[in-house]
Symmetry: C2
Subunit: 92 residues, 2 copies
Amino acid sequence: MGDVYQALADPTRRLILDELTERDGQSLFELCSRLVMRHGVTSSRQAISQHLAVLEDAGLVSSRRFGRTKLHHLHTEPLREIAERWPAEPKE
Amino acid sequence: MGDVYQALADPTRRLILDELTERDGQSLFELCSRLVMRHGVTSSRQAISQHLAVLEDAGLVSSRRFGRTKLHHLHTEPLREIAERWPAEPKE
DNA sequence: ACAATAGGCAAGTAGCCACTTGCATGTCAA
DNA sequence: TTGACATGCAAGTGGCTACTTGCCTATTGT
């Protein structure tokens, strides 16, 4: 299991999470096109694929194959831990 | 203003935030000692100082000098943005 | 004044990470 | 079955970053 914080460190990976928030269950090709069109991302398909692997390893994304395509789904549970680790007010 | 996500990417920096959560307003020397004692951190004083600069640049820590010491204070507001950026349920 | 304390600055280094490139695998449609 | 499509794998490269090292500044106490 990879590091959630490190997964969030890359701006392209955060855009992938944004894109999956808007439309869950996208394939790699869908994500690539929409990232280019809507967010001006210039990375190659392989780059996006590697980013997805990091996100999946961190438990933020799950994937399932359907024939020759692979659909990706968002999971936000690991993010809740971040907000809870450092409470709003420090200990007195 | 630096990147909050990138500031959180380093495990030592997260330990610094933990330490400031337990006891806010520590000096550099206090932080170094307690990180070694309680968390087994082996980094040098300069390393911790550079980490504090990153955290301060990201708006997670503020500092104020008192004579020859410098006290560091935690600010968790930038962390709230993370939980709000990706809501618990994706759009339908 | 002098020494000790708390911290800062800057250059150099080593390891990691994002990205590319090239090729391979598997699936659908004609 | 043949070609086009969707994805996977693996090695190589460049840049970033955490860390160290050495020296410097400023403050406090005796």
